[in-house]
Subunit: 258 residues, 2 copies
């Protein structure tokens, strides 16, 4: 479900629809008017929650300002919350309880690290950004007692003092603050692993679209310094979509298990 | 509710009962047999959940090993979860949603810091221990965007490499690992604020009880080095009880508001 025409949201939802079709998940995009009230949105979600033909429900963030986003995420049935934004599913991440859904970007980051042979055990993981959708859940995941995790985790944000001194401690740096090319070479320890979660549009008259996509990391200077780095676009973004598919399949199995 | 006769639990539950009586909250201790099954415990909790005369339910941790503690905490109605251990209430802490209950020890730590004039904004808060009951929720609280919080937060644990180097970064060090006098002077930055969450019994033949209580911090050497430190006993412990009372009053108001 997408409310409004945020250009990035349009692009994300299209990609999710396309990937669903490719792997045989049938998806249906609902486009309520941008003027929809919270009560109306709740009623719509309630109907989807009750519909046994629907395994997963995704409400694309951001929502219009007159709507309480967290309340909407919490209205989705936890069993259909394939985006992993429901309070209960976030709590389960903190509790290391696998029965819930992990939000897609953090889950994708952990999968990327695992598939790239990066074991966080004992490593210092610095997360830049404390958002509910990326920073906090990925910190909780990196901290878990599971194989591949067990990292020492630091979370930095806009109020952090002497940020470069802290990011330079990172064996693994996860940048998720939505500021174009914010992380520069002086903020990175040589040999670190860099996960760039940012997808920022910056004006570029040389492009037909008038913009280009850059991450939160200044790729040209940082990439030569670090051991591994995710590109933007093409790194964390596709993993997010993959995890959404994985969550949807899990939801389907859960709905049909009992 | 207390299941079994863990000596620390007996002492905690007695203190909670005594404090309740002092401030006019009527409390009733339920002592199921240590052989109670999880199903029976669930049934008991379900009855308490439905009883309108009960505002708050506390299941004293630890529970016997044959019982899934997280599942029991989640069985308590979130509206009566004055201990703040329910998955939904933990998720609300992550979401900075004040409508839930914050678990008592982390809430007590934040209150102690606030009342002692310690503003975490921009400070480096190092949490030693990643438990569900203290480490993770206090890290999430210290990280919040609220006045008094906004700390940069690092969480360390048994897998952390070169722990003293990390704890020495702390402007505020919160020790919650349950290892007697583990934090020594070489692990502390001069002038730091130290919160000692540990309550450990160590054998002491000179005491009538045969033991004395010490924290996770080696008080004699650390106290002369730091700016502020909480004593054990008498620091975080009483604050935990105070926050339980505060949560119970909140639960009562919530139950009678609508």
């Amino acid at each position: 479900m997408r409310v409004g025409d945020d250009p990035a949201s349009v692009s994300y939802v299209t990609k999710k629809e396309k990937t669903s079709a490719e792997i045989g998940i049938s998806s249906h995009i609902i486009l309520p008017p941008v003027t929809i009230t919270q009560t109306e949105l709740f009623a719509l979600i309630d109907r989807l929650n009750l519909d046994p033909a629907i395994d997963g429900i995704l409400v694309q963030s951001p929502l219009p300002k007159h709507i309480n986003e967290v309340a909407v995420f919490r209205r989705v049935s936890p069993e259909k919350d394939v985006d992993g934004f429901h309070t209960l599913n976030l709590g389960k991440v903190a509790q290391e309880d696998d029965t819930g859904f992990v939000s897609c970007t953090p889950a994708g980051i952990m999968e990327l690290l695992a598939r790239s042979g990066v074991d966080l055990k004992g490593k210092h993981v610095v997360v830049l950004g404390r958002s509910l959708i990326v920073g906090k859940p990925v910190a909780l995941l990196a901290l878990q007692k599971k194989a591949g995790a067990n990292g020492t985790v630091t979370i930095c944000h806009s109020q952090t003092r002497d940020l470069p001194a802290i990011t330079r401690l990172a064996d693994v740096l996860i940048a998720a603050i939505g500021r174009p090319e914010f992380v520069t070479a002086d903020m990175v320890k040589p040999g670190a692993v860099i996960i760039d979660v940012g997808i920022n549009r910056v004006p570029d008259p040389s492009k037909k679209s008038g913009y280009r996509l850059v991450g939160d990391v200044h790729f040209p200077t940082v990439s030569s310094l670090c051991a591994k780095i995710t590109p933007v676009p093409g790194g964390v973004g596709p993993m997010t979509v993959a995890m959404l598919m994985s969550n949807t399949i899990k939801a389907h199995h859960l709905a049909n298990a009992g």
